[in-house]
Symmetry: D4
Subunit: 214 residues, 8 copies
């Protein structure tokens, strides 16, 4: 047997295991989902390729596929649980949306109230300033940005809550697959910024939910 | 005038400005502290050089100097405020202490209940497992580690709270001033880990307090 | 003539030459195998592409193809030789299996007793602790891991034998094709860890056998 | 003779040669200044060490030493020439001032109207927004910033003139001597930003003057 | 809604927004162009893939497709406006042409008089020296070059106007996708050189026009 | 016109221009070859793609295509010129052959006596020592090697002639496209080693001929 | 208390803890040594600064200071134990000696028969070939080398035992503090080479002893 | 004994061993010089620190100290030998002189006719063009340059002899200790350029002599 499943994660960590779909066959993912459903768990799959999504939609018609965020989610049975915290996601540009959507679905699956303010990068700061009210009441912000990734620094000075910066690999030239954005966020002059790995919408959404649910 | 002071930060962000002592003269820092005290604010100075600390101790005998963490703190007047949240700090080795102490003093200044579990790096995992009870009840953990910085990954699987990884520049050879530790934390297989800049105990403590106080 | 074959390697080094299949045509590999078989040698081919494997299986029905590890092995004729040492292989995740299987086949071809414990990465440390007995009696461990590659550090503190760390290119974002994992292993806080190149299951298995056979 | 002096630079380029003081002895610099003065030229020396400045001040009492910008300037004889263009310099923090002053002195020596707005980094965006009127009428802006260097991106969206970004080596941790700031500026989402080398206040001021004088 | 359009850019910046075609579908680009045309604006699209260009040509027969520069431009209605400044573009080799053409179309769209001198790299310096007269009268030069990118340094000493260096990703081996060329330009010994991101012909042409139009 | 042909190169440099085929169409290359042939020049094309080679072979039946070295050569008319110097090429492994062949064809086109000793890498040093006599009389050696590229260092201590190291991008893992090999050669402990760019067989062969012909 | 001592390491790992002297005061080290001696353990301190060594020599006259290897060793009481394995150390140059001596003292403290062959780098391969008999009978070799670090590759082909490569930071220019040597060893064409961190003589000696004692 | 002297180098390589003075004590160097003198050899020491030079001058009054190039040379006894070839050295700036002088002394010691043209960097190309006649008749050129290191590319197109590029660590900002210059030379668009390590005047001079003496 090639896998050592972590059966007690919900007990230990408060969340069921999430299936990272990247190198898995659709058959493999479908099998794991059947097993989890049998235990009454809801379930989240990330990085679902388009054809894998088709198969999963046929097998689990109640599942929800987010094609931009590349996620597939099956909700736990029973009534919709109450919202446990408020997460707001902000993106610099339109190309950052796949990462932002992955974060959104994750935080929603963890029972948070989530909303998204897209394409308000700092090259047009009035766009961000004009929508600050939509960020009111957030327990935590997720700032998703590529290129020079200045968004979390600006946001950081406008709010008193933690900012999770998610650098994206959006850019070209001396961007180095998102490294420039990552370094920008790590060196942010706003001291309320923390960072996760490049393109890691799942990690951003997951920690945001951990913070918001407290 | 060469500085544009941010007078409204407490209003906007909930915390007074912190003085980053690195490139400032002792005279300069003393001047700023006098001004802040006049406004009834407590104050925190980070990265205080030993001789600057001596001068500050003479000028502000009520101040508290932490020589390992390189901080100087003047408490707000009035009774000790209640603790607003629980922060636990864990270090991989003894050499990580200066960074951990900077984090500790910061989170304490932000009115958190803080404690430190030092030198429990993963090369002797029983040391960490034997002290897990000291981490119970934490709202957030700060994991301070150099070398390969595996500590937050292991901690991340043992708890359900957010982990702030603070990579340190402790190490030699192919460590590249903490870059190896930083990359290790960014690529953590535990999805509840977020990261701040290398040696940035202040940022770690600051965001930990933001989270714990919610 | 474009190649200078190393005919005396078994005499000098104790092992026959291994065919690195990466840039070779299936015809070319088949030809070398025929020549080696004529000398009564068993033989190991690594990095065999799927279609090359098909051809080799037709030409040498007695050969063993490991599709995950991408190897093709023809055993020496005669009775199975006795086991000369004990090698145990541990992987952090399921995606590390191709590299681990390459190491396994190599160490088996060198007449070692080999077993594999998969998917016991440090984000769920209880998985590793629960299977430590399977590592008992090993002369050497091979730790195959990607992402932050903390596995050899944790293993290193739990055993008194040498650990060969094999970083894998599994990961995304600031992983840089396995560089983060490589740096993590080189900076391991456990002093019984040595490292081979990224994804180099063959080197890991080869040196493990050299050590175990002593 | 170890030097090949460029006597026709003013003819060819419109500016006299500037002396880069970094690896030159004070004697050497003094000698060159005497020669240039003999030709009736004014002169600018950059990167003047403190003790070299002392010697130059004794030798040329009419010279102007800027100790923060590390420059020494001797004006051309005759009446003050008219201003040929408007340059405004903006800095993110106080520590960026040495680089900004080098840029200021350079642009002033090239007969520009220059002013400086300091310490208006993006972590407190209201500081920048509150001083935009001081940037009105500029032919070109110089944005001097370290850490993540988001300042030129924000400025770029607020104005229609070219922005010359000068990254500084101010920062710590994963800043890599200003490389993070440099990458941030190169990847700016504002398309009116161009960049010069790290800490290169002279280049920034020189090109700003070339642009403003048109 | 996933986009926050910047409607006031021409008012604020003097230029209409430019559509960066890289990750956009042809349908999406066509839609934006229709909207802009309705506002009477001319429009520029960059990084247009060949099949997207075909669709745009059918929808807007008056548009101009530059297949080398990968641009699609629709002119504002009315008489051709007067030229507002002089831009000259120089390339080191033939492979730099796509980047140079992107710069040319951009500067032309911004109403500049633009011309191109191609393939005059420094390995045959007489080629450049023989065509210097074509650069006479330029307000600004754009130097497009890959490999070691020495062209702006040589140009810089031959003229008194600003040089915008555009490094290209042309090269092989230790070129690192244009990084060598970028570093060469940043470290230019000519002090009138500023730099934009690798392959960023649009940024080069845009800033050149900003400078030339003053 | 997009190209500035260098007609006087043979006069200035002693060699006709060589066509770098990488980004050129077969039509384009054929056209240049026709023009050069008209001037009575022989000609060398490097980095010829397989299909371009087919077209060239049809157009110039007298041309010689080297499919491993990816070259196409048309000899000058008239009798074979005398050999002007002795070049020997050594490779570490079989995979280095394409680069070595490019060097060989180049040096032969420059009228040198060239021979190749392949697959004598330092992991089997006896292979190299056993063929040293084939290197006797060389004016210059070209050492082509990937992986750790130790070959020129060993060669350098066995001979008194210059060694041109050509690092190749052969390898995997932490090889970084030949960077490890390049750094190895630059840091060679043998002081008679000089280096050209990664995979640059043409440069190696060209400079070798320049040296050998003296 | 800031340290969590690992009292059971000898039980678990077969060796007492070793004191890494780098960031510790002489007083601190002396205190730990007293405690260990009380338990009847011998002890090894690495990276001992010269003045710390003086203090330790006064406090423990029976201790042995190796000034080149920067070690201080106190032997266990009782008769000299038998040798448990054979370790041979080879260095490329004289400057590699500090690292080699650290390895030597470590392996000797772990009861191995150790000898050193110095300054036999590959630029004079006859030096190495002439001393191969001194490496006969080794269970494991340690190859210590800087610059291009070709030594383990050459050694690897001459022997059938494992080679531990220890890259050193000896070199200049594009050596990057030993990174070139490290990459060279990781990419070794000899498959019996494993690697430890740059300058890590202790790790090299430690693992060599683990292997040799089997 | 810690050193394995290479007594036959002159026989094998045509040159006596050169002493690399960097990490050696003055006593050590003096001892080696005495031994070499006894064998009738002349001798060259490179990287001589100022105080070591003082000691050597007292011990060997006939020796020649070059304080800029940091060399100490003792000529062979007997009449001055004839010049065996022509080497010309060109530098981009004055700060490159230490490296150029090291190259000069080396090539002179190897009996070459050497001359130096300094400070003719490409930012003032007329300086170089005006002194081309001084380079006439050279068998080989050494181009010493820092910053963007465009000098060998320009030289390469003006001559038909090999160019040895020696990058220097002169520069600041994104120069990375000479890495930018090294990359520039490796990516030179002139195909007659080969490269040695950063600041390696000795290697440059040594190989130049090897070439010129043929
Ligand atoms: N998009 C994602 N990015 C990073 N980690 C993920 C992602 N999705 C799932 N994971 C993590 O991967 C684990 C499952 O990995 P696996 O066992 O390979 O399915 C989950 O428990 C998550 O912690
Ligand atoms: N140790 C520290 N590390 C990083 N940032 C700090 C540190 N201490 C203070 N800061 C930040 O620096 C700001 C003050 O910078 P300054 O104006 O230079 O004193 C504070 O408001 C903090 O956000
Ligand atoms: N998977 C592998 N990774 C690295 N080296 C290998 C691998 N398989 C074989 N080798 C080595 O490559 C040598 C043969 O290379 P070649 O002559 O190119 O077939 C063998 O002797 C092994 O040392
Ligand atoms: N080729 C290009 N390179 C870089 N930036 C561009 C390019 N073309 C357009 N842009 C910028 O991208 C903005 C539009 O981006 P978007 O909203 O994604 O279409 C424009 O206003 C320009 O500032
Ligand atoms: Mg947009
Ligand atoms: Mg410890
Ligand atoms: Mg798993
Ligand atoms: Mg400030
Ligand atoms: Mg050309
Ligand atoms: Mg081979
Ligand atoms: Mg030596
Ligand atoms: Mg000069």
């Amino acid at each position: 047997e090639y896998a050592t499943v972590d059966h007690h994660r919900r007990l230990r960590c408060g969340f069921p295991e999430v299936i990272f779909g990247l190198n898995k066959t659709a058959e493999h993912v479908e099998g794991i989902l059947h097993a989890m459903k049998r235990q009454g768990e809801g379930c989240l799959v990330t990085r679902v390729a388009p054809d894998a999504a088709d198969r999963l939609k046929r097998a689990f018609p109640e599942g929800e596929h987010n094609p931009i965020g590349r996620t597939f989610r099956i909700r736990r049975e029973g009534p919709e649980p109450p919202k446990l915290g408020v997460v707001r996601i902000v993106t610099g540009g339109t190309s950052d949306l796949p990462v932002a959507e992955e974060a959104r679905v994750t935080a929603e699956a963890w029972d948070c109230d989530v909303a998204l303010v897209a394409d308000v990068g700092v090259a047009g700061i009035h766009r961000l300033l004009g929508r600050l009210d939509e960020l009111q009441g957030a327990d935590v912000l997720i700032a998703v940005a590529g290129m020079e990734a200045a968004l979390p620094s600006v946001l950081g000075g406008l709010t008193d809550c933690p900012i999770i910066g998610v650098p994206t690999s959006v850019g070209y030239g001396a961007h180095f697959g998102g490294l420039a954005a990552l370094l920008g966020m790590l060196n942010s002059c706003s001291s309320n910024v923390v960072v996760v790995n490049i393109d890691s919408g799942f990690n951003g959404g997951h920690v945001a939910a951990l913070i918001a649910r407290r």
